[in-house]
């Protein structure tokens, strides 16, 4: 269930966002160069779609633990020290992302209160800015749930006498 919610669905959503962006870009270019009539709001909307894509994609990245990192030190750890480091990193990630989400909440609430809209597409700015608020909140949840799942899988592997992590 957690895998479906935090990996399968985000992957499907970001695939759709990518294809919609490509279609919008193609339509905008055709409109501009073939018909002399570009879609004036397209660029802004594409950027917002990508921002949402980034933070939804990051939910799956956090769940799978596939962040870009330098694991020279951690790769050399085995057993409990490795698990402890994994737990510490996940805890710091969750706290930091929640702290950032709290800052995002201040900004999103401000945009909500003022009703500010973007320059070209007149999209309420609360929409693109919410990507960070929702994204960072769910990244922290996904990281914790993903770690729990990985630790369970590890414990099961140990019980079967499998590889030590």
């Amino acid at each position: 269930m957690s895998r479906w919610l935090l990996s399968t669905i985000p992957m499907a959503v970001i695939g759709v966002l990518m294809l919609v962006s490509v279609a919008l870009n193609g339509a905008n270019i055709m409109g501009r160069y073939l018909f002399g009539s570009p879609i004036f709001w397209a660029e802004e909307v594409m950027v917002y779609l990508t921002i949402w894509g980034v933070f939804i994609g990051m939910i799956a990245v956090a769940y799978k633990g596939e962040h870009l990192s330098m694991d020279l030190f951690s790769a050399g750890l085995r057993g409990k020290p490795r698990i402890a480091l994994h737990v510490v990193i996940t805890a710091v990630l969750a706290i930091c992302c929640l702290f950032t989400a709290a800052q995002s909440w201040t900004v999103v609430r401000l945009f909500f209160d003022t009703g500010a809209v973007s320059a070209s597409s007149k999209v309420p700015l609360v929409i693109p800015h919410s990507a960070l608020l929702i994204g960072f909140t769910l990244i922290s949840c996904a990281a914790v749930i993903g770690m729990r799942t990985q630790l369970k899988a590890h414990a099961a592997a140990m019980a079967r006498g499998g590889d030590r992590p």
Binding site: I29, T50, V54, L68, M70
Partner: protein
């Protein structure tokens, strides 16, 4: 505070924290502990760092490259390049090298290039009698050219990070990419002469025409992708969008080697990779901003220029630093963190920003095939099914050759800047 901004990220990075978290923790620590800016600025600067139309070129080029790599384009390119160079000694390694150059002009990702070209040429090179180390070393290291030859994700990120024209950076990357290819080519030539391997077959016009007919849409891809940019018609982002549409048409409608399901998976994969990169772009924006408002780049520049080190020595030191950084960090992260720090220094010693971008990206490109974290090594390990130790042995001569090319490109700025006059 400066110590917090330098020592904390280094410590966290060594411990294996995700790179975006390293920067986020550092930025949050500076904001909370020193209170020089309101904490809500974290959100604002992060958002504005990725609220840029020019950045959209990255996911679009990744998607186009991924689609073309999986949809039969690379196989046709290999056949076509082989029909051109098949008569020369060492034709198979030259085919791999030539295809890498052409594929690099479609895809901006070195990892995608190793996967696309390596999987199709490695066995054929081995069958021709070349040692495993030579073949793997060639495939893993020559893919680094994709980072220099436009469209290049590294050059786009440098352009965004340093406020330099991406079109000029793209034009500047062409000749250095070809110089690197020429250096690799010279090594292949020397190796085949010394070993007596790889005698070519006579040139066949019939095969050339057949390969051209079969691969015309693949061969035309770089022209479609880059022609509009250099002709001044399209912005890099628009060209990237056109590359996607072109790739969808060629792969989905003409070749039909992959179905719509795979195309959708490719779109998901491309945005997933974009997410991994752009979250670093967002957080690096905050880190760079904190560095700037605290005057760190200016202080660094002042300290180094005050001790009167000659520019060539500073460039050499930057090269060494970037080579080491490239061995440890992925290209995107390294560019995003080090560009704000080093760019003022490079400008102060009279290095053209475009030339500096090429130097930086080339250094980090070499890092893509050097231990311990060269991404090409890991992709090569998976695609070529070789242990890392064999790959390490294979890259040594190519690393030396790449360093020679790097020195030439660093100290002869005309190689990078020559094509700019045509823009």
């Amino acid at each position: 505070m400066i110590a917090t901004m330098v020592l904390l990220p280094v410590a966290l990075m060594i411990l294996g924290f995700p790179f975006f978290l390293v920067l986020l923790v550092t930025a949050a620590a500076v904001v909370v502990l020193f209170g020089i800016v309101p904490a809500a600025a974290l959100h604002q600067v992060m958002f504005s760092s990725i609220d840029k139309f020019a950045l959209l070129a990255v996911p679009f080029f990744i998607f186009a490259g991924d689609l073309m790599g999986r949809g039969g384009v690379s196989r046709r390119l290999i056949r076509w390049v082989n029909s051109v160079v098949g008569s020369v000694r060492g034709s198979l390694p030259f085919t791999a090298l030539g295809t890498t150059v052409v594929f690099g002009a479609i895809s901006g990702s070195t990892a995608a290039t190793v996967a696309a070209i390596g999987s199709l040429t490695h066995d054929r090179i081995l069958e021709a009698g070349y040692p495993e180390e030579f073949s793997s070393g060639l495939l893993v290291s020559s893919a680094a050219m994709s980072n220099l030859i436009p469209p290049s994700i590294g050059l786009i990120l440098f352009g965004i990070s340093s406020d330099t024209s991406i079109v000029r950076l793209f034009a500047a990357g062409i000749l250095p990419g070809l110089v690197l290819a020429a250096f690799f080519g010279a090594y292949i030539w020397w190796y085949t002469l010394r070993s007596g391997l790889g005698k070519g077959l006579p040139f066949s016009l019939r095969e050339f025409l057949a390969a051209t007919r079969d691969g015309i849409w693949s061969i035309a891809a770089p022209v479609v992708v880059l022609g509009g940019i250099y002709a001044g018609i399209f912005s890099p982002t628009e060209a990237a969008g056109i590359a996607c549409v072109y790739a969808l048409a060629v792969v989905g409608l003409l070749y039909r080697e992959i179905g719509w399901r795979e195309i959708f998976q490719s779109a998901s994969r491309s945005m997933y990779l974009t997410a991994q990169i752009f979250v670093i772009v967002a957080v690096a924006g905050v880190y760079g901003w904190l560095l700037t408002i605290n005057g760190v780049p200016q202080a660094l520049t002042g300290a180094i220029t005050d001790i009167n080190i000659p520019p060539w020595a500073i460039l050499l030191a930057i090269n060494l630093l970037m080579l080491i950084v490239g061995c440890m960090l992925d290209t995107g992260s390294a560019i995003l963190v080090f560009t704000p720090l080093l760019m003022p220094l490079a400008t102060a010693i009279g290095v053209d920003p475009v030339h500096f971008g090429v130097i930086m990206v080339m250094n980090l490109s070499i890092g893509t095939f050097t231990p311990p974290f060269g991404i090409n090594l890991f992709v090569g390990q998976a695609v070529l099914k070789l242990p890392l130790s064999r790959l390490y042995a294979g890259i040594v001569p190519f690393f030396i050759v790449a360093i020679l090319a790097l020195l030439v490109i660093t100290y002869i700025p005309a190689i990078s800047l020559a094509l700019l006059r045509f823009l």
